[in-house]
């Protein structure tokens, strides 16, 4: 069952022009279980559940690919740079080790 996760893409600074290098922040609400912690209610060890691959793309062209392991914190945050080339859409696709696939996108609107 693929559940819909809460995620967010932020582009910093808010105002940018073509040719500027901006920061693209991606935050997703995810447990990132290591497979070592016990569930406080049941006392059983929680199985590992973490995001393992993330792809940042602009208009379908991937520009950053990440492989991630369980050593990344709960509700992970990833930040990379991107050089603005024009109007378009930044999409972040992410999958976790249980096969859950999600994606989030944000429009890029350079001014001036």
């Amino acid at each position: 069952m693929a559940e819909k996760r809460k995620s967010m893409i932020k582009i910093k600074p808010k105002k940018y022009k073509v040719g500027d290098i901006v920061k693209v922040d991606f935050i997703v609400i995810h447990p990132m279980d290591t497979g070592m912690k016990k569930d406080k209610k049941t006392g059983k060890i929680k199985p590992a559940h973490y995001i393992d691959s993330i792809t940042f793309s602009f208009d379908g062209k991937p520009f950053t690919k990440m492989t991630v392991w369980e050593s990344v914190s709960t509700n992970p945050y990833f930040s990379v740079n991107y050089k603005v080339t024009g109007k378009g859409k930044i999409t972040v696709d992410y999958t976790d080790n249980m096969g859950e696939k999600n994606s989030k996108s944000k429009k890029v609107k350079p001014k001036g």
């Binding site: 070592m36 492989t67 990344v72 914190s73 990379v80």
Partner: protein, 157 residues
């Protein structure tokens, strides 16, 4: 039972105990390692570089807190002072830890479209250890920078 036999027996028991104790300790150590994709730092580094030399470099600006009160959330930042052109760019940034079960934290594959070699995230650390950033450049060389992080409360258990 005679006194001599008793003493000999004592020695035998203690000898057996001495022989078996290390095994038990080893077994406990193994029990601690239960992550599915555990990998030591050396193995992880070898997998990334293929045995090539990794030089310390001042080109990398690696920011990590000196003391992390909560090991579950340690913010880190890597900035590489290297051009991002078509044929000369930062290919990848690898974040490695030295004491967690799994030494790999994140592998980030960059392209010239990124404009700058930059990556930031938050990682978990089980105890006080070094965090290493290994950067692969497009000409096939590797550079690294590391930082020691003191962890007050571990974040992996």
């Amino acid at each position: 039972m005679k006194r001599r036999e008793f003493i000999q027996g004592m020695f035998a028991v203690s000898a057996v105990a001495m022989v078996t104790t290390p095994d038990r300790v080893l077994a406990e150590d193994k029990a601690k390692k239960k992550g599915a994709n555990d990998m030591s730092f050396e193995d992880a580094l070898k997998a990334i570089t293929g045995g090539k030399e990794v030089k310390e470099s001042k080109k990398i600006k690696f920011t990590a807190p000196e003391i992390a009160e909560n090991g579950a959330v340690v913010p880190i930042k890597v900035e590489v002072d290297h051009p991002m052109e078509e044929k000369n760019y930062v290919k990848a940034i690898h974040i490695l830890n030295t004491a967690n079960g799994n030494a790999r934290c994140a592998d980030v594959m960059l392209t010239p479209a990124n404009g700058r070699g930059y990556f930031s995230t938050r990682i978990k650390l089980s105890k006080t250890q070094d965090v290493v950033a290994v950067v692969a450049l497009s000409d096939g060389t590797f550079i690294k920078a590391s930082s020691n992080v003191k962890v007050t409360i571990g974040g992996c258990g």
